[in-house]
């Protein structure tokens, strides 16, 4: 990890401030960018679950048609993509945790550890599944799980936002 990280560090930061540039600073900048991406993922996640939940309130879906209408197909695809982003999210988060570890930023690492642990736990306790993935289409509609996932999305969003500013000023 470190090996690829360092060489990229040099071209990465443009400008005169490169003097004070350390590996730690680079980590923070990278984390900043990645956190921005994670925020985006989290928002998408929230939207996806909200769509799942409010699906039935959609007046466009007027009749009990058997097969999904075109819009519905699009929406389902969007939802599926959003759910697939979960794994990249975990990997990205794990990646910059490792970066901080290498940079010996213990405080930052400490702040991120709970989330990392949560991710690991969450992935370990996922339903039986042959492929990668976290969500089981047969149980996702359970109101409890849906509510839990939504709450999870909001919490993560808040966490990423805070860490975004932390990285920004840190």
């Amino acid at each position: 990890m470190i090996a690829p990280g360092i060489p990229r560090a040099a071209p990465g930061p443009p400008g005169p401030a490169a003097m004070a540039f350390t590996f730690a600073a680079f980590c923070y900048m990278l984390a900043l960018l990645l956190t921005a991406a994670l925020i985006f993922f989290a928002i998408w996640h929230i939207i996806a679950f909200d769509e799942l939940k409010t699906d039935y309130k959609n007046p466009i879906d007027q009749c009990n048609t058997l097969n999904p209408t075109v819009e519905k197909v699009k929406k389902i695809k969007r939802v599926k993509i959003a759910l697939k982003l979960v794994l990249p999210e975990y990997l990205i988060h794990a990646f910059f945790c490792v970066m901080f570890l290498c940079a010996a930023e213990w405080l930052t690492l400490g702040l991120n550890m709970p989330l990392l642990a949560y991710h690991i736990w969450r992935y370990m306790s996922r339903p039986v599944m042959s492929g990668p993935g976290l969500y089981d289409p047969t149980t996702i509609m359970n109101a409890d799980i849906l509510a839990y996932c939504q709450k999870e999305g909001w919490c993560k969003l808040a966490f990423y936002l805070l860490s975004f500013f932390y990285y920004l000023y840190g």
Partner: protein
């Protein structure tokens, strides 16, 4: 003509297929409008004031009865008018056979209204379907009278349609009037006169009747006539002359009543008896002449509907009755708890009910809390006019019939809120509407239903989202009455259960043909069990009975470690077998002829079925490639959708989806480490693919060893199939299982089926759906995808109160099931239920439906044991009792009494929960094999509540001393009604014989010292010692005891669509343990007795 041959008894086909849709029938007459203004039936409570008159006590004389009946009827009357008119125009001699008339009578109205096409033979009606007495004499008289030629046709219609059709409340009444007319007016008197007579001047009418009614009838007793018939007539009376208003009629009745010799009280009693009689076991005294009996029995089914609605008025259990009437097959109705004697007013009735419901019961002191008859669903405390329109509790039931206003209140009550549905149940009467537009709310898409309110003629307010909608032009016209401007009398607004013929907007592709694919395991192990013979033979026998039409397709696949397809191409002299051995990448060997048209290739198919069992007898292949076979089946079916029936006898061992044995027998005792979750998601994913292509997979598992049903079951669970499990099936060693397979397979093959279905459940704004239970895939928060739907599947839904329901008096739930029938029609079956909202805890407890609560808890416990552990689930069940009873104790009871107090409505709660804990699904100990446990869990999830309750808490009857006392009379058969006993060995006596009815099985336990007469006269063997070990049939002997016992058992069987096997067991039978296991009030090695359980609960509650 449509259905001449329909067997009277069969449930199956009636609903969908045979019915005549409501269409604008040619026949209508103008009289219709005569209807009184009362008709406005906007569900709003309180509107109907006129109903009250109904209470008037009926007279005993037959003529009088009619009157009484009329009282109840309010709106219905209108309709009758028309019916009568039709009859009147008498010109031609009356050709109708008596039978027809009787049968149709109730229904006549509708059918007549409908179309002439409907005409069918009388045969379709179950014998005696209708109002008995009256009809009889009518007929006799009729020849004299002059019903018009048209009449005959009408009658015919009626009969034909009637069978299928739901008599909407509207229609039902007409006939009776007709009857009167005839009788009264031999000479062809003017209509009005005839009517008048019956109504105003009972005496004349009665006379004619009397002759028919034999003296046999006991005075007060359950009049042979039976409740239903009477009622209708009443309406009729009012109806005929338009001029007569209900009030008048009521007045007349009063007059009659007074005039009548009987005093008021007497009358009332009789009334009760009558109503109850119809419903319950009633007791028609046997003396009545055969004809009468016939009529009665049938009467329930047909006639019932209309009356059913009307009946509701009696205070005691209005809803129940109505329902009972409507759906004859339900077993429950028959036993009705005695109604309150007083017939004051409905409201009074409600009050008394409440008081009874609120009475706390000290469970520790009152040991005999089990009712002697089957428990009935509680009746929501609604205005009677609404209640009588409400959905039958067998179809749609809520755990709390009083909905708490807020989530906080619900949480306080500690009871689960949820619905239990049996949406596709076989119904004997179901209104079907054909119209170009289906009226639905524009914002929430709710179907118009009896609980909407009409603001004026042109606008209606949705009862789910409260949006005001316009009434479309077409809806203004009522096809039943052929009157314009009465949208509130359309069948849609008069029936809580209704079926629409869906226009093309409801299909995205043309309705699929019925497609059936059978997949057989033919490995060595499977051949050993010999199941193939049984299955192929049953299939051969029922090939013509498979639901379908000329488009029906059928196909076969067999597999061991390879997959065999059968080409049934036309022109082949014999089926051609194609073997695919590449199970890693399954392909379909030929594009067509693997699924062939059943009718065009019947001979080849029969040929194949005959040879199939012999083809693999030499097979030594022990591997089973179930996964690849299922993939092949899926590929074959995916273009059309349909049903795959898989027969599997062992753990799949090769290819995709191969499983490993996970059961460790010596670990069964430890409740924690058992494998209830699937070990692979292969079957689940395949099921979801199937679901997407409208394919359902039904699994028949016939296995001696562990087969990992937890994993295999997913294939059915998510594709809306069903699972059947025959433990240790063997054609020689286990003949009982063979018979069970035969019977269940027959039912499976011939029952109704709906394809490419979806079900949506809507509820009033503020409530929301939390979780679904059953076999399906949840496609959206309120939408279930059901590739197949069958009449034996039940569903449960947990609900939550999201926003408080302030300002609402009632809430409604609506389930809409859109499916393609086996005839290729797209139909929508809609059930709507309306329940009151309450604000206090005591009212919530008052309305608790203990059976529904138990059913829902069982479903939740299955989920819990899969997601957490079995012991968690068990704890949760016990906590449910403790929490609710302690909440009741602390919040409702003002005086703290010692003991364990429970609201009357929940008095059976601890018992039922204990029964659940002792059920195979949740019990601890080493008794249950893993597959068996999981199968029971599947059943909990997939069975309708009625059968789930029987399975959980079987009914125990003593049958060695059956008497005719209190017996039920149906079709000339006398059916004894022994009381239900508590499930405790202390109730068993060595010198008796006991029947335990556990839903899908029955046990007849013969005590060691059982009376010699019973053994020889019922079992047909000389003494106890010679009762054979594996006896499953009672011989039909000519003795009274034998006839009674057999009548009772077959009556129990007739009430359910499947065929419960009867095991006759002695003290040393191997099955004795399963019998004793159901003695749930007793202590077992690993479980508490009922009393101990109560003590445990008391301890926790009082903490």
């Amino acid at each position: 003509m449509a259905q001449p041959a329909r067997p009277p008894t069969g449930y199956p086909s009636q609903n969908g297929a045979g019915q005549q849709p409501y269409s604008n029938g040619p026949v209508q007459n103008q009289l219709m409008h005569s209807s009184d203004g009362q008709g406005y039936s906007p569900s709003v409570p309180g509107l109907y004031s006129h109903q009250t008159p109904a209470k008037v006590p009926p007279h005993q004389t037959s003529g009088q009865y009619n009157y009484s009946g009329s009282q109840n009827v309010s709106q219905l009357n209108n309709y009758q008018g028309p019916g009568q008119t039709l009859n009147r125009p008498p010109v031609a001699p009356f050709s109708g056979s008596p039978v027809q008339q009787t049968g149709p009578v109730p229904q006549v109205l509708l059918p007549a209204l409908q179309n002439s096409a409907a005409i069918s033979s009388a045969g379709s009606f179950p014998p005696g379907a209708s109002p008995p007495v009256l009809s009889n004499w009518q007929y006799s008289q009729t020849p004299v009278s002059q019903p018009v030629g048209s009449q005959t046709s009408h009658l015919a219609h009626m009969t034909g349609t009637g069978s299928a059709q739901p008599p909407s409340s509207l229609s039902g009444n007409t006939n009776p009037p007709g009857n009167y007319q005839y009788a009264a007016s031999p000479g062809g008197p003017p209509l009005q006169n005839s009517y008048m007579k019956p109504g105003s001047a009972p005496p004349p009418v009665t006379q004619p009747l009397t002759p028919l009614h034999p003296p046999a009838r006991p005075p007060l007793g359950p009049p042979p006539v039976g409740g239903p018939p009477l009622i209708r007539p009443s309406t009729l009376t009012a109806g005929p002359p338009n001029t007569q208003s209900l009030l008048n009629s009521a007045a007349n009745r009063d007059g009659d009543a007074t005039s009548a010799a009987s005093d008021g009280s007497v009358v009332q009693n009789s009334y009760d008896a009558i109503e109850g009689g119809g419903l319950m076991a009633t007791p028609h005294p046997s003396p009545a002449p055969p004809n009468l009996k016939m009529n009665r029995s049938v009467g329930y089914s047909y006639p019932t509907l209309p009356p059913g609605y009307q009946n509701t008025s009696p205070p005691g259990a209005p809803g129940m009755q109505a329902s009972a009437l409507q759906y004859p097959d339900g077993s429950k109705h028959f036993h009705q708890p005695a109604l309150g004697t007083n017939h004051l007013t409905a409201s009074m009735g409600g009050l008394s009910l409440q008081q009874e419901g609120l009475r706390p019961v000290n469970l520790l002191q009152e040991r005999n809390i089990l009712p002697m008859t089957l428990l009935k669903a509680p009746v929501p405390n609604l205005h009677e006019d609404i209640q009588k329109l409400n959905c039958n509790p067998e179809l749609f039931r809520c755990t709390l019939t009083n909905i708490p206003q807020t989530q906080a209140l619900l949480n306080k009550a500690k009871l689960p809120l949820g619905l239990l549905l049996h949406p596709f149940k076989d119904l004997s009467q179901l209104p079907v509407v054909t119209s170009s537009t289906i009226v639905r709310c524009r914002s929430c898409r709710t179907y118009i239903n009896p609980f909407v309110s009409f603001l004026d003629q042109r606008r209606w307010k949705c009862n789910l989202c409260y949006r005001v909608n316009d009434v479309p032009e077409e809806f203004m016209y009522n096809p039943v009455t052929r009157v314009y401007g009465e949208p509130h009398k359309r069948p849609e607004v008069q029936n809580a259960t209704i079926e629409f013929m869906a226009p093309s907007e409801y299909m995205l592709r043309p309705p699929q043909p019925p497609v059936y694919l059978f997949v057989f395991d033919v490995s060595h192990n499977a051949i050993e069990t010999g199941y193939l013979n049984t299955v192929c033979q049953t299939l051969l026998d029922n090939l013509d009975l498979l639901p379908g039409n000329t488009r029906t397709k059928i196909g076969f696949i067999t597999f061991d470690s390879t997959i065999h397809f059968y080409s049934l191409q036309e022109g082949l002299s014999q089926p051609q077998m194609l073997i695919v051995s590449d199970i890693e990448d399954v392909f379909i060997p030929m594009p067509e002829n693997l699924l062939v048209n059943l009718n065009e290739n019947k001979e080849l198919i029969q040929d194949l079925l005959r040879t199939l069992p012999q083809m693999f007898t030499k097979s030594l292949e022990t591997q089973s490639a179930l996964g690849p076979a299922l993939q092949a089946a899926f590929k074959l079916m995916s273009p059309t959708g349909g049903r795959i029936s898989v027969f599997q006898t062992q753990l799949p061992s090769v290819g995709m989806g191969a499983l490993k044995s996970r059961e460790e027998p010596n670990q069964r005792a430890t409740a924690k480490d058992i494998h209830l979750t699937p070990s692979t998601d292969f079957y689940k994913k395949l099921a979801l693919d199937c679901s997407g292509q409208q394919v359902a997979v039904d699994l028949f598992l016939l296995s001696g060893q562990y087969s990992d049903l937890a994993s295999l079951g997913c294939i059915s669970r998510y594709s809306a199939g069903s699972v059947y499990y025959y433990q240790s099936y063997h054609h020689k060693h286990n003949p009982v299982q063979v018979e069970k397979l035969q019977k269940e397979l027959k039912r499976y093959l011939t029952r109704k089926i709906g394809f490419e279905a979806v079900m949506r459940i809507r509820c009033t704004k503020g409530l929301s759906i939390h979780t679904f239970h059953g076999n399906f895939f949840v496609r959206s928060t309120d939408l279930l995808s059901l590739p197949n739907v069958n009449p034996d599947a039940g569903y449960a839904v947990q609900m939550s109160v999201e926003e408080s329901l302030t300002d609402m008096q009632v809430v409604s739930f609506q389930s809409a099931l859109l499916y393609t029938s086996s005839k290729g029609e797209r139909r929508i079956r809609v059930h709507t239920m309306c329940l009151p909202v309450v604000t206090t805890l005591s009212e919530v407890y008052l309305g608790a439906d203990v059976q529904a609560i138990t059913g829902l808890l069982a479903n939740m416990a299955v989920d819990r044991s899969v997601s957490a552990t079995l012991s968690d689930a068990r704890d949760a069940l016990v906590n449910a009792v403790i929490d609710s009873l302690s909440a009741y104790r602390s919040s409702v009871l003002s005086i703290q009494q010692p003991g364990l107090m429970a609201p009357y409505s929940l008095r059976l709660f601890p018992l039922y929960v204990l029964a659940l804990l002792k059920q195979k699904a949740f019990q601890t100990g080493t008794n249950a094999r893993l597959d068996e446990r999981i199968f029971t869990m599947c059943q909990v999830k997939n069975q309708p509540l009625v059968y789930l309750m029987l399975m959980t808490h079987p009914s125990l009857y003593r049958v060695d001393n059956l008497t005719d006392e209190g017996a039920l009379n149906i079709n000339d058969r006398t059916i004894p009604q022994p009381p239900i006993l508590q499930l405790s060995v202390e109730k068993l006596s060595r010198d008796g014989a006991y029947l335990m009815d556990a839903g899908s099985v029955m046990f007849l336990w013969i005590g060691k010292n059982c009376g010699q007469s019973f053994i020889s006269q019922v079992l047909g063997v000389p003494n106890y010692g010679s009762i054979p070990q594996n006896m499953t049939h009672l011989p039909e002997l000519e003795t009274a005891e034998s006839m009674r016992t057999i009548a009772f058992i077959s009556w129990l069987r007739e009430q359910r669509p499947f065929f419960p096997i009867l095991y006759i067991i002695k003290d040393d039978s191997p099955l004795k343990s399963s019998f004793l296991q159901n003695m749930i009030e007793d202590r077992t090695e690993s479980a508490l007795s009922y009393y101990e359980f109560l003590l445990h609960i008391q301890q926790q509650v009082n903490k």
